[in-house]
Each structure stands twice: as structure tokens, then as C-alpha cells.
Symmetry: C2
Subunit: 376 residues, 2 copies
């Protein structure tokens, strides 16, 4: 938690649940990533948090943007981003969205299959396109599954086809999975991309861009490798597989830029022993899986918690959200402990919640309003 957020919470005591974001921390994270991966141009993954104050700051810093939909492109343009700095990074796009993007001047589109490529050729003629490779997501705490990406053999055919369709076969992307804690994942993926570049060069197509995707982890409850370690692995792999003719390098961090800049402030509604002689206390908060903490599904993302009673004796707890839904449990198996004196009315700060929280929030499940957001 940054000093600015601590001070804001102490002074304003905002109603819970709310998200407080330190926009200066967003800037620090952006600069850290630039320093750690110098050849890369940063395309902020808007889906992580599309709030205007955050986009404004990133536009000011000269960032580029990875948009998942026409609406996200529109958010970026409204914040002053230039179309040539926006990538339409969703492999699944409505025709109406492709048209709107093209009319707005967007010329960079991702695809992973012939059907999508043909839509782009028709409704965004002449655009630069890049093909998403399917790579192993092992090591990722929020893996991206088989939903996206294609095989190297298929990518090769598709990029040749792109040329024949009058598009500019610009490059290749991959995504190692979100909150990826293994630096090796990037090395393996870069080697596959290098081989594809070579194969296509043999076919007479010179790709010029490699998009490393996002997935860079942030500190939650457990320790993770720092961004400099990722930078070193990436540098080494780029040299090994591309030598001195480095293509343009893109990265698409979302969590890394926005995650640690945000804190959710919540209130304990109930602490209960549930009438069992054994087992943990149950702690119910006024935010849960449907109020924004969707990434606690399967206890995948394990947030760090702060209470005003920290330092006191602790005991095991299960932690759940405020809705009548049995699936609205944050942690039951991950060994969380909280102070034994914790009681209803206490505040709990949930750290690292600047990314993938406000946007997952349900419109009004169980009648609860979406969490309020403060950008300071």
C-alpha cells in the first residue's frame, strides 16, 4: 500500500467496499517495466483497468494500448491516445467492431484463425496483422487455456494467406498466461516465435514484430521473481533466437501496471464460529467474488490482507463474500490466518487489487452496488 493510499484511507474513511488507486504508482510501474525491458514498447492491456485517470496518465507517458473491444478503443481515443498507438488485441472481434476500429484509424489487429483473418481482410483492408501462437501456460496462476492461439504450422500458413489477402503480415504474439511466475515460459515462447520468423523468411515473408503479451506477475501473498529477472530472461532469449536483427518488440502488461497501484477497502460484516467445535472461524466481508474479486475463483489469486489489528495473535479463517451464493467464497483452503480479535465492523484492506477487480464487478448481484472507485 502506497503512503498516498494509506493517508487517503485514514483521512477520508470512505464507505466500503471501495477501490483506491494511486495513479503515481501506475507511472512508477510503467517506468520500471520500461527500464527492465528496454527494447519493448508497452501496450497497456486496457481490460485490467480502463479508468480514465489511469488512461490519461499513460497517454501522458507516451504509452500504447492493447484494446479488447471497440469500446476499449473508444476509451483510449477519448483519453487522447493516437490510433497508431492502439492494437486491437482480441482474437475474437465482431464485424461491427472491426469496421468501427478501422474507421477510427486502427491498423493493427490480432488473429488466430482463417475465419478471423478473412473478416479483417474484408473490413480492415491493408492493415498490419499478427498471429497469436498457442503456448504452454504452465506456471501461470490464471492460465489462458486453449481458447486462444494456434500452432506454429498453422500460423505459418495463415501469415502467408494474410499476404495473399492484401494484409501486411506483421508479426507474431503469444501469451504465457496471466500472473506467470516462471521466467522460463517467455524463453520457450520466444524460441518458438524465432523459428516461425525463420520459416516465414524462407517463404519470402519478413515479419517485423514480436508481441510478448502480458502475464507479468505482481506480488500478492507469495514472493515472485522481479521484473528485472523477466527482463534478463527476455533479453537473453531475444539475442539467442533473433541475434542482431531484433524485430519491434511489444509487451502487453495489465496486471503489472495497474495491480499494485490499487487497494480495496472492505468491512468485516460477520465473524462466526458456525457452531462447530473445530475448524476455522468464518470471516464475511462486504466484497466477494461477485463484487470484483473474481480472480479468487479456485483460490487462484491469493491477495495480501491488512487489518488494524495486525501484530496480534492470529488464527485460521475461511473468508467469504456478502452474497447468498455458496460460490462466493474467497479462501477456504489457502491457509489464511487473521487476528483472533477481529470482529464485525473492522476494516480489511485487500492489497494488489488495482487490476482485474473493478471491471469484473457485477452490476448488482444480491442488490449490492458496484464498488466505488477513487483515483488519487
Amino acid at each position: 500500500m502506497t503512503p498516498k493510499i494509506s493517508q487517503f484511507l485514514a483521512e477520508k474513511k470512505p464507505q466500503t467496499p471501495c477501490l483506491v488507486m494511486d495513479v503515481d504508482e501506475v507511472e512508477r510501474r510503467y517506468r520500471d517495466m520500461q527500464a527492465a525491458i528496454p527494447p519493448a514498447r508497452i501496450y497497456y492491456a486496457v481490460k485490467a483497468n480502463p479508468a480514465r485517470p489511469l488512461l490519461d496518465r499513460l497517454v501522458f507517458l507516451g504509452a500504447s494500448f492493447d484494446a479488447a473491444s471497440w469500446d476499449e478503443i473508444d476509451f483510449c481515443l477519448s483519453a487522447g491516445a493516437r490510433p497508431e498507438n492502439i492494437s486491437f488485441g482480441n482474437t475474437v472481434k465482431k464485424v461491427s467492431a472491426i469496421k468501427a476500429a478501422y474507421e477510427a484509424g486502427i491498423r493493427l489487429f490480432v488473429f488466430d484463425c482463417i475465419e478471423e483473418l478473412e473478416k479483417i481482410a474484408r473490413f480492415a483492408p491493408g492493415s498490419r496483422v499478427y498471429c497469436r501462437l498457442l503456448v504452454n501456460n504452465q506456471g501461470a496462476e490464471w492460465p489462458l487455456s486453449r481458447k486462444f492461439g494456434t500452432t506454429p504450422e498453422s500460423a505459418r500458413k495463415l501469415l502467408l494467406r494474410a499476404r495473399d489477402l492484401g494484409l501486411d503480415p506483421y508479426g507474431v504474439s503469444f501469451h504465457v498466461g496471466s500472473q506467470q511466475i516462471s521466467t522460463d515460459a517467455y524463453e520457450v515462447a520466444i524460441s518458438r516465435a524465432g523459428a516461425l520468423f525463420a520459416d516465414l523468411a524462407a517463404d519470402g515473408v519478413r515479419l517485423r514484430m514480436l508481441n510478448l503479451g502480458g502475464g507479468f506477475p505482481i506480488h500478492y501473498r507469495e514472493d515472485i521473481p522481479g521484473i528485472r529477472q523477466f527482463g534478463q530472461t527476455i533479453s537473453r532469449a531475444l539475442t539467442a533466437y533473433f541475434g542482431n536483427t531484433l524485430p519491434e518488440i511489444l509487451v502487453e502488461p495489465g496486471r503489472f501496471i495497474a495491480g499494485s497501484a490499487g487497494v480495496v477497502s472492505s468491512e468485516v460484516i460477520l465473524v462466526s464460529h458456525r457452531g462447530y467445535d473445530e475448524g476455522p472461524r468464518w470471516v464475511y466481508l462486504d466484497i466477494g467474488r461477485f463484487g470484483g474479486l473474481a480472480e479468487t475463483e479456485g483460490e487462484s489469486i491469493r491477495y495480501e490482507l491488512r487489518t488494524a489489528r495486525d501484530g496480534a495473535e492470529t488464527g485460521p479463517v475461511a473468508i467469504a463474500g456478502p452474497t447468498c451464493d455458496g460460490a462466493d467464497i474467497l479462501y477456504e483452503k489457502s491457509g489464511y490466518v487473521l487476528p483472533v480479535t477481529l470482529e464485525a465492523g473492522d476494516r480489511i484492506e485487500i492489497l494488489g487489487t488495482g487490476a482485474y477487480v473493478s471491471t469484473y464487478c457485477s452490476t448488482r448481484f444480491n442488490g449490492f452496488l458496484p464498488l466505488t472507485e477513487y483515483y488519487i
Copy 2:
């Protein structure tokens, strides 16, 4: 799909994704349940779908309401429900919500632990309270876990304590799990409740109400027992365990009342073979897990699908939502098939989506607006 919904979709061709609800079907379902379980008073579980036209109709029909939050109580009061027909049915309530409810005239509250009971005694003095029993959720497709309810021994102590705290120990509730397809689940739970009634009578406390909860299933892709079968099992169990001195019986259907009255109309964004020689086609829709279809988590709720090409040859598919999230997959393992001629731009109707869809929808994940709702 009701004829009224078919006609609306055919004539209006509304933009997708949208939810179309036939409010007359809500009324039919309400009457079906009344006929099937005559002794029960129906407390509609507002969380299933709190839309005003639906609440209006249910108020007109003389329904009562099970609310999960102060906001849901407020929705019901605004629609003209009387406070004495509203139960505050969430075992986890903020003090501010208890106060607001009490001031509005609500006098029926659930609890499952001493800490919540003490809050109710303090901020809603003299109210009727009922204790939620933990029961086995086996057979439920959306089970409610260990998050709610307590043991019979603990319930007995708590209801005695309620009396000592100046509250009215009114009854007992349980919940067999949502989309519960085993009628036996109710029988087992009613027998446990019967034993608790007898134990408390021996302690000098005469409970007067038994709340059977909700969980009554609706037809999705698979066949399920009809509501009359549930009614018969419940009748038999009530007679077996309560004899001729039947307490007041409450039921809290949500899905059963609203589910089958709604259809989501969506559009196919992409059909792709993903570059694999084998395996299913991938069909991407403009609605997914974060656009409202949250209950497809773990492929728990398997919706029935309709396309304009039904009747043609079919082939296996995986079905996914429109976001860049790898978790946004609806069905990969449940053996769905769709017409082989299906293509981008086609509409797909998702049946039985009147409950637990519109409210789960995220505020704006990946930039996508919440689905539009039509009540006809």
C-alpha cells in the same frame, strides 16, 4: 421459449446480447408452484432477478419476498410489497442494513450463528428470527457449500438464546442447494427440521415456521423431476415428520419462478477450427461468463441452445465468450453439438436464462456493456 418471446425476437430483432423475459410466464410458474406445494407461502428470491416488471407482477399476485440485502428490500418496497411480506434472508447482514430494514418495518430475519443473532437482537429487537440448518447439498448442480447454516445441536442452543435475547424464535430454514434435482434432499432436510422442532418443544419453545428454502430445478439441457414430484415428496415428508400440527411453510424459489421465463439472444462472433486437424470447432458468442452466464462456471448449468439452423447436420463444439479471458469458456467438456453450417453473424438463443444471469453480469469487463433487458 414462449411464443411471446419468439415473436418479440422475430419482429424486433434486438441488438445482442440481450435478455428477453416473458412476465406472463413468471406468473404461470408462480401459480404452478402454488398448486404443487399448496401449504407453502412463496417468498420469491429476489436475487434471481430483481427487475421491476417482475416484482410488480409478483406483488400483484400476492407473493412474498426473500431479500438478500437492504437494497433488495428497498426494491420490493418500491414495487409495493408490504414489509410483513418480506424476509431478510441473508445470514450475513451489515448492521446498517439490519437497522434500515427494521426501520422499514421488516420483522423476519434469518441467522446461523450467535454473532449474527446478537446483532439482530440489538438492532431489530423483538423480531421473529429463524435459524438456518446446514444440510447436505448432494444432487445440487449449484451447491451452496459450508458457507451457510449450522448443526441441529447448535441451532437448538441458538433458538433458546434468541428467546433469552427478547427475540421471537420463530422457526428453521434450510437450503438443499440450487438446481437441486433430487427430491429426496427435501425429505432428509425436513426430517432433521422435525427433530429440531420436537427438541425445542421439549425445551419449552414452540417453533411455528419451517422455511424449505429454494433450489427447485428448471429444465435446462437435461430432464429433471417436475415441481409436482417435489410437492408430493414435500407433502409426504411434512406429514411424516410433523403429523397434523403443520407449522407455517415457506419456500424461496428464485430460479424456478424466473429462470424459464427468460431467453438470452446472442450473436456468433466467430466459428473457428483453430488450426487443429482434430477436436471441436470453437464457437465464440457475444456473451460469456462475465456477461451474465456465470453459472457455466465448471459447466455446472448447461443451457439449452437454439439456432436458426437447427435440424441441419451437427458437429461437436466448444463454446466461449467474447472476452480476452481464458476463463471465459462456457462449455468445453459437456458434449455440446451445433449445426456444421453455423457461422459468424448467426444468432443463438440461450434458453432458461431468466434467473441468475442479468445480475451476475459484470459492469464493463473488456469494455462490453451489460446486456440489455426487455420485459414483455
